[in-house]
Symmetry: C2
Subunit: 161 residues, 2 copies
């Protein structure tokens, strides 16, 4: 592979983008996320460091809808999220595993990914996104994988289970 290909591909005109984290997000059918978190603790020794619940589901439901549980595993972070039709702004299609890429500049990151051949899906949403709140956009790559481009997680520390 030629050295110059390593640099930037076809995206020379797009601003540089820095990513601060990549986190696999495992989506499970609601309300199984609470069980899945327990399984990953038991099976792999994962440590839950944060949990973001759907605000409208906190009060009136016995089993809360988990927007995102943050698990530490082998020095990395994985996310586990309940998926349900009415409560899920960003849903994986085809694959239940989504990759969350955190960056301060969501728009520039999406633009760069699109210029490289990805397809932006939907609008950038704010608030109760799948990645611990903040701003979230979605890009599907040419190989079928969905990447959530999101602003860095900040709210998880509020809700530690």
């Amino acid at each position: 592979m030629a050295q110059e290909e390593v640099q930037n591909g076809g995206a020379e005109k797009v601003a540089a983008v820095t990513f601060t984290a990549v986190k696999p997000q495992l989506t499970v059918e609601a309300p199984k996320a609470v069980d899945a978190v327990q399984f990953y603790k038991s099976a792999f020794g994962a440590l839950e460091v944060g949990r973001t619940l759907h605000p409208k589901r906190k009060a009136d439901q016995e089993l809360p809808h988990i927007l995102s549980a943050q698990l530490e595993l082998a020095g990395s972070t994985i996310l586990v999220s309940d998926i349900a039709e009415n409560y899920t702004p960003v849903k994986a299609e085809g694959s239940g595993c989504v990759l969350c890429l955190e960056t301060e500049d969501v728009e520039a990151a999406i633009a760069k990914a699109v210029s490289a051949g990805g397809v932006a899906e939907g609008e950038i949403t704010e608030g109760d996104g799948a990645c611990c709140g903040g701003r979230v956009g979605k890009v599907k790559d040419p190989y079928g994988y969905v990447w959530l481009i999101c602003s860095p997680a900040k709210k998880c520390a509020d809700v530690v289970a």
Copy 2:
């Protein structure tokens, strides 16, 4: 959630297992891995730090079969692998994204995951595994995700693209 649940679930009798890394592995239909790697470089600024090719495909094929390309992205490692019927010891079913968990004790890790409710699939294989060689076993969790339990990657540094 009760504090004692955090500890070990139902796996008290199983040896402690330490994981050294968790790496999402994105599988793509062969021979598209080479293109996918280029896309992740262009779109997200990923840096390729290693590539393991199928040894039998190096000599006689124009496009090598990529068992595993290691990409560094936002401080984490992701793997990109060609999937083809004849050359793939461990294939994702349902989801194209697999999670590789590295540990020195593959057997104990699989036993612990199984005691927690996972299902071991196939035998532990050695050599040209999906995670840069070494020993690889496979556990499907109750939520459909496939985890490759593998010995730490060592051979990637040999083949830098």
